[in-house]
Subunit: 200 residues, 2 copies
Amino acid sequence: MGPQAATTKGVATRELILDRAYAIACREGVEGLSIGALALATGMSKSGVFAHFGSREDLQLAVLDVGGQRFGEAVLIPALRKARGLARLRSIVAGWYDWVRDNHHGCLIMAAISEYDSRPGALQDRVVTLIHRWRSDTARAVQMTIDTGELRADTDALQLSFEIFGFALALHQDTRLFDPQQARAQADLAFDRLISTHLP
Amino acid sequence: MGPQAATTKGVATRELILDRAYAIACREGVEGLSIGALALATGMSKSGVFAHFGSREDLQLAVLDVGGQRFGEAVLIPALRKARGLARLRSIVAGWYDWVRDNHHGCLIMAAISEYDSRPGALQDRVVTLIHRWRSDTARAVQMTIDTGELRADTDALQLSFEIFGFALALHQDTRLFDPQQARAQADLAFDRLISTHLP
């Protein structure tokens, strides 16, 4: 087996480990990850798992990135195929709300906020980076909708993205604790009203 | 020492234990509570702590109730001194936002949602009950504001309470991850706009 094949196999193994690690972290939290549990889940030795991740923290950081990537693939990428402006913004919000529904047993990154908010370090920094990036993406989609003239020129894109985050967070909470369908209807209505009060 | 004195001392000891347990749970989560750690924190024996709580779960349930009680004392009780209607609703929201600021290193109940959302049982049920009660209190305050004629008669009290929860959740998240002052300004603006779009 030449080096290229070894490398390809290495990448595939790393992806397999990350896939299992992501599934575990969705249930148990990123703090619930251990090299030992992953070795069991993948049928590898602990040293085999270690060979792909220098430390438990490196593994945890990689899993947070997987969470961000899967969210982006589910929510942002489809929206980018829509025209800039209200169509794209609506697609982002609908995709996000769908994500909350489909991941209601645990959104890894939402849970990670609670896990790391009082533990400064590389993991907290990564959570902040991921949430900040998504907030910026949302604000940019709002700004484009102002630029296309579909929202009033004096609309505050950061303010709207704050409020949209709030609706998604309330939906996330209610979906887990109360009636998911009622929560979705309320979140849809909240977003529609927000848009309707900022029309030109 | 007669039985009355013993009972009074028993109540005081129980309250001392709960006070320490609450402080630990704010930092470590309700799942971070153990009879052993509490014995250390109170200078009591494990069996002494056990005598006041039949089990670790009873202790955890009592700590969740302490969380609900302290939130109520900080937010709801002061608001009940205001006149029914917009003054009381504004007081609830301002007190809630202040609570988020003052407890930004960890609101025990907010964290407990993440801890128990995928673990059915008595602790999850208690979290749902506490959040549901607060949602109902908020909706009732909105309904009174409709009844006083300060909000439009066709206002949906449950919808408004959903949106207010969203703003508080976004504030909670941003206070921990980003700039607390900017988050507060955005949360205030969100609530003011929500009210302004429902005026008669």
